[in-house]
Amino acid sequence: MSGLDALHLARVQFAFTVMFHIVFPAISIGLASYLVVLEALWLRTGRAVFLDLFRYWLKLFALAFGMGVVSGVVMSYQFGTNWAGFSDKTGPVIGPLMGYEVLSAFFLEAGFLGVMLFGAERVGRRVHFAASCIVALGTLISAFWILSVNSWMQTPAGYSIDADGRFLPADWLAVIFNPSFFYRLPHMVLASYLSVACLVGATGAWHLLRHPENAGSRVMFSMALWMLALVAPVQVLVGDLHGLNTLAYQPAKIAAIEGLFSSQAGAPLVLFGVPDMEQARIGYEIAVPHLSALILTHDWNGALQGLDAWPRADWPHVGIVFWAFRVMVGLGVAMVAAGGASLYLRVRGRLFAARWLQRVMLGLGPAGLIALLAGWVTTEAGRQPYTVYGLLRTADSVSPIGAPGVGLSLAAFVLVYLAVFGAGVGIMLRLMAQPPKAEG
């Protein structure tokens, strides 16, 4: 029993620390690219408004990046502290990928961030712009490797297993470019861009509601809505392809997402309901007949496996996966709608006049990040009860640390993270509440 408790505490600890962590790299990925665009626009047009916005968001970038670094160092050691079984067995395959992340991304970001933040007076404009580009490139390289690691845990490939149950690399290209990698990487990068678009859009909206003529706020608001209008629909497409890939490689996860307990032809799309794992059914179900079959199999009467195709011991937690997915999709639809509305208003010449859109964008401020977290919860909780899908059980991955030890460290992480990152988010919000310079 105590072993079980330690396992659950270790899982909670990982979920807690990684969910706090991923928010900051997501902001860093999105903001780094946004800063490159702003700096390029300034260099090209010479308009002061772009430089003002660059400086405005650079402060926030520094904060988010710093919090990402310190919470990321925690992650790089947590595999060993709490998941020693996992580390020993998978280290030979995913360890080198993480090693490459450090060597090709972390050093690059850290090395040039100093130039970006403090070097403006010491280097020319071109070198400074190059540093900004390199930092942005670093965030993308980092995403490449860590998504490769995660994808391998979801859809392992290119390995063999030795007598001790250790994974050994057999084909590195197959390991890195495993079957779900090309879906997860763009999905995450676009999610980061959309998250930052929501933050930038909400900041612009907040200031436009007070000072409708502020040039910087207008630029932010307009750029963010271009992003939503153009990229949110692409994200829906990428997500759909990703779902089909998951159906091919992790059908039990899809069954949990769809709330499909029994295998059937022409499965309905459950819009709302309360999954009941005991009874293996959905309560209070509101569903559209045949739609799930149509989306996933492109056939009105296509057959889908329900969770009854697997023993209960192999089920993920249906409620978590089911709800997290709906939160993600719901917010995604809202982003598409806001982007679409902005196009309509833009054509009518009323983009900055329609105050209701500013209020909507203010409400959507955290939407990108919440959707991103919900998406990660869907895919990670949906991978359970395995760490390496179908091959290594979570229960066999944990460290030989007793429940008191894991519980104590969990309590310490919760206290410190809430205090530190709570303060950090407070500072970020206060910076965002300051209006950008009025003149452009």
Binding site: M67, V69, V73, Y77, V115, V123, G402, I427
Partner: protein, 329 residues
């Protein structure tokens, strides 16, 4: 060529790079804690602000590298030294965010405390980790088999104190190099007694370490090991003399001596441990992953590490010279 040997050398290099680089900036954080003048404090932080997170990246490389090429070491050392590692990580969280928070948050005092205390605690926990590793870790069936409190002994606490003092010395010497006037003079004073204490503590740890395992003692005092080991204390004494002379008027000299001191101490650790990676039994060959993993990561490392050293060097060069506060401060 033996891949495990090459990797042991590379990981040792990463750890050494971490210890001396983050060592001086953690040390600056500790001296920050005893400094009262807000302007001096700002100068101290400013001297390390552009480089600290590059320095800390070596810690991630040490951990990530261990995971990649010596997974058994990673999977036994971290559970064994669990509280020390968690303590270090949390301390680094406080200290890392304080760089930005102390200038932007409402309560500067609070984050100043977090910066100083976090720096000290991180160093202390790293010393505990070092001591815990040296005194040995019980492993059965490829898993940690010791107790919850194994990391806390007289020896590990001594190592913790020694690392704190050593880091503070590095920090003081860094500030002698990078500042001028009043702050520089004050740091010359700090460096004097920190140097003496470091010298004494290094001596005590060095004498205690061979007593931990017969294997260490045989390496240090047995023939022909003594040929390799006897120059270490001689070189240490020579560096100590140079350091002492440099304290009066030297600029970069004391910092270089302190670095040399750390390199020698690190070499001493290597002499004790090699070829063990997790004493008392696990060697680098036991802990190494398969050759294909080691070779795959090595291929990129050979290209990327020189690049990293190149642009890290560029960054230090860019921010060279005596530190001054930016306009508007």
């Amino acid at each position: 060529m033996d891949l495990a040997m090459i990797w042991a050398g590379l990981i040792a290099f990463a750890v050494l790079a971490y210890v001396v680089l983050d060592g001086f900036d953690l040390g600056v954080g500790m001296l920050f804690a005893v400094e009262r003048d807000p302007k001096m404090r700002d100068l101290m932080v400013h001297s390390i602000a552009p480089v600290w997170d590059g320095n800390e990246t070596w810690l991630v490389l040490g951990g990530g590298g261990l995971f990649a090429v010596f997974p058994l070491a990673y999977a036994t050392i971290l559970p064994a030294l669990y509280p020390a590692i968690i303590g270090m990580l949390l301390a680094l969280v406080f200290r890392g965010v304080a760089f930005e928070f102390r200038v932007r948050a409402g309560n500067k005092r609070l984050w100043d405390i977090a910066f100083g205390v976090g720096s000290g605690l991180a160093g202390f926990c790293q010393g505990l980790t070092l001591g815990g590793l040296l005194q040995g870790i019980r492993v059965e069936h490829r898993a940690y088999a010791g107790g919850w409190w194994d990391w806390l002994t007289g020896f590990t606490v001594l190592c913790g104190v020694a690392v704190v003092i050593g880091y503070a010395l590095l920090g003081a010497c860094w500030l002698i190099w990078r500042t001028e006037g009043e702050l520089q003079q004050r740091c010359r004073g700090y460096a004097r007694w920190l140097g003496v204490m470091t010298f004494v503590l290094t001596g005590v740890v060095s004498l205690w370490t061979p007593l931990l395992h017969a294997r260490f003692a045989a390496r240090w005092f047995g023939w022909p090991g003594v040929l390799l080991t006897s120059p270490v204390p001689v070189l240490l004494a020579g560096l100590a003399w140079l350091f002492w002379r440099g304290l009066v008027k030297g600029e970069v000299g004391p910092f270089l001596c302190a670095l040399g001191w750390f390199v020698l101490g690190f070499a001493g650790l290597g002499i004790s441990l090699f070829p063990l990676i997790v004493p008392p039994d696990i060697t680098i060959w036991d802990a190494a992953g398969p050759d294909s993993s080691l070779r795959f990561l090595l291929a990129g490392t050979v290209v990327l590490v020189p690049l990293i050293l190149g642009y890290t060097g560029y960054s230090y060069w860019l921010f060279r010279g005596k530190v001054r506060l930016p306009a508007g401060h």
